[in-house]
């Protein structure tokens, strides 16, 4: 059984074919990276997997079942994502952001919560213990009670990764984890992606431009151009593939 697969996925926006018959399969435990020039359709594929837009064709399979419904159904299946331009809850603290990530593991009902019964208190403490593991892993203890609105960009990026990890996903979608980060922060990000894959055993599907990061952490790479797959293989194979070089640098004049 394939762990996660996309079959013949396509979407059109009016006359624009943003994604055109893309198929790939991700094996459990690997880091699978999608690369491609701007406008190749990478983020669109993420949005299709997240069911934010309905696909025009094709289907998405996760653990042998099709992914269908609304975006929150995707999260409940154990797929978490981050966003290219950071979508955090600005007027909440880092801790609250991570706790919202625990939403799919909530156990209390509305009436218990209105009365704040002892069971709710116990559940809240348990959620905090789970979140603390993420805080420890990503070194966020210093920012635990800070409002997101006052945090620098690099930290926000990490908080967003933490929020996705707090959901305890089986598959983690990272949309350009290194964009806007300086080289040191990118280096940290690479370490964390390796930790997430090796120590937490989470499968990672990533969109990324920084080829150093890609070659360092990826098991396999998929190259896209204008909505179509142009190459797939190990980072070295894809980087030296003639179609990839042409897509990035243009054909020989």
């Amino acid at each position: 059984m394939t762990f996660f697969a996309v079959e013949n996925l396509g979407v059109r926006f009016g006359g624009v074919v943003a994604v055109d018959g893309v198929s790939f399969a991700v094996r459990q435990g690997e880091v699978y990276t999608i690369i491609g020039p701007n406008g190749a359709g990478k983020t669109t594929i993420f949005n299709l997997i997240g069911l934010i837009y309905p696909p025009s064709s094709g289907r998405i399979l996760f653990e042998g079942r099709a992914v269908t419904g609304a975006p929150h159904h995707v999260a409940e299946r154990g797929i978490a994502r981050t966003f290219q331009n950071i979508e955090l809850f600005e007027h909440a603290t880092v801790l609250q952001n991570l706790l919202i990530g625990r939403h799919r593991h909530r156990v209390t009902s509305l009436f218990d919560e209105l009365l704040f019964l002892p069971s709710v208190r116990r559940a809240e403490i348990a959620q905090r213990e789970a979140v603390e593991r993420v805080i420890d892993l990503l070194d966020l203890a210093h920012y635990r009670d800070s409002l997101v609105a006052g945090l620098p960009y690099g930290v926000r990026k990490v908080v967003e990764l933490g929020r996705a990890l707090a959901t305890e996903p089986k598959l983690l979608l990272l949309d350009e984890p290194s964009s806007g980060l300086n080289p040191d922060e990118t280096d940290d990000m690479a370490f964390w992606i390796e930790d997430i894959q090796k120590e937490l055993g989470v499968t990672v599907l990533m969109v990324e431009h920084d080829m150093n990061l890609v070659s360092r952490v990826s098991t396999r790479v998929l190259a896209l151009n204008e909505g179509r797959v142009i190459a797939e293989g190990t980072p070295e194979q894809v980087q030296s593939h003639p179609a990839v070089i042409e897509a990035y640098l243009g054909g020989g004049a």
């Binding site: 978490a80 966003f83 600005e90 909440a92 919202i100 919560e113 926000r156």
Partner: protein
């Protein structure tokens, strides 16, 4: 300045962050409990209104300040609560049951209004709720056989377990208890998963749904809870004024309720209570000021003008409302002399390109 060193998860969760808070809220509680023995009957009557408007303000704050959904139709929920109470009291239903029914019925209506909110945002939602307000007002006016039409309906004093609450003191304690319970219920909700889901929807719908929050369910729930609190407020309001008619639940009333939230400070429960106090005390202050104003200023309509100016002033100069102003004053003294004007300025928001349509 106080630094709290956390060593236990309960410190995140508990009601009072430190002893100082417990002391000041305890003192406030004592003063409120002692109020009937200190103040005159007239002031006590104003305190009734503050409690009632605080309950309504808390309900609206949950919707506007915490879930980020605007409503210009809350006077309709107030009306639904008030008329349910009047009808059930007329039918001889005990108060404990009738006020629960007022809350429940308002919540059901809230769910119905919440349904379009799943598709509408911002100004469009405001228009939809505004239309809802007009519809409810018309229904109350035209449905003579049940609501008494524009003749209105009178209510008797509340009877609680065979004990008649006809005095100002007993009604004050009832409203105070309900206001305190509403406040506690919302604090509890906001420190649990449901409250956090509301905040998530307010700050980023797309992130919220990608983390497993069912937008439809939580938006409807927020409307229902908000309407239920407003319904309770409406039932108390009906008893307070003793006579209800359609013109008490118009659009103007809705705008006044939104004013509570904005002047108090969007996104804080303190704000709802402060805003309620402000909106009740302002007309009193104006009527005192009238004696000092020159004859040439017309008396009629003065209140609306002043209300409007204050609302605009708050939106421009103090978007965080009275509570935000209080936080700034407190911080000024906390960090004296290091307070800077920029202390509370927000960092620029980063580009948000991905939005649900």
């Amino acid at each position: 300045m106080r630094f709290i060193f956390k060593t236990d998860y309960n410190q995140d969760i508990r009601l009072f962050q430190h002893g100082g808070q417990m002391f000041w809220y305890g003192l406030l509680g004592l003063v409120l409990l002692a109020a009937p023995f200190i103040v005159s009957g007239y002031v006590l009557s104003q305190l009734h209104f503050i409690c009632i408007y605080a309950i309504v303000g808390l309900g609206l704050m949950l919707l506007v300040g915490y879930t980020g959904q605007i409503s210009l139709g809350h006077a309709a929920f107030l009306g639904v609560g008030a008329y349910t109470e009047a009808l059930l009291q007329g039918a001889g239903v005990p108060f404990v049951v009738s006020i629960c029914c007022a809350a429940l019925f308002a919540a059901i209506v809230g769910v119905i209004v919440g349904l379009p909110a799943l598709r509408l945002k911002g100004v469009y939602l405001a228009i939809a709720t505004l239309a809802f307000n007009v519809i409810v007002e018309e229904i109350i006016t035209r449905w003579d056989s049940v609501t008494g039409g524009s003749q209105g309906k009178s209510l008797k004093a509340i009877e609680l377990f065979g004990w008649r609450l006809s005095s100002g003191e007993s009604f004050y304690y009832l409203s105070l208890a309900l206001a305190a319970l509403s406040c506690l219920a919302l604090i509890n909700l906001l420190r649990s998963p449901t409250g956090r889901a509301f905040v998530a929807i307010r700050d980023s719908e797309i992130s919220a749904s990608c983390l497993g929050i069912n937008l439809a369910r939580y938006k409807t729930l927020s409307f229902a809870l908000s309407a239920a609190l407003t319904g309770i407020g409406g039932a108390l309001y009906a008893h307070k004024v003793g006579f209800i008619s359609p013109e008490q639940f118009t659009l103007i009333q809705s705008i006044e309720l939104v004013t509570i939230v904005i002047i108090g400070g969007v996104g804080s429960l303190h704000g709802a209570v402060l805003g309620a106090a402000f909106i009740i005390l302002l007309p009193q202050a104006l009527s005192i000021a009238k004696d000092w104003l020159p004859e040439s200023i017309p008396q009629a309509g003065l209140q609306s003008v002043v209300f409007g100016l204050i609302l605009v002033g708050f939106i421009i100069f103090e978007p965080y409302g009275l509570y935000g102003r209080w936080l700034k004053i407190r911080t000024y003294f906390d960090v004296f002399p290091f307070y800077r004007r920029g202390t509370f300025r927000r960092q620029r928001g980063y580009l948000r390109s991905e939005r649900l349509r």
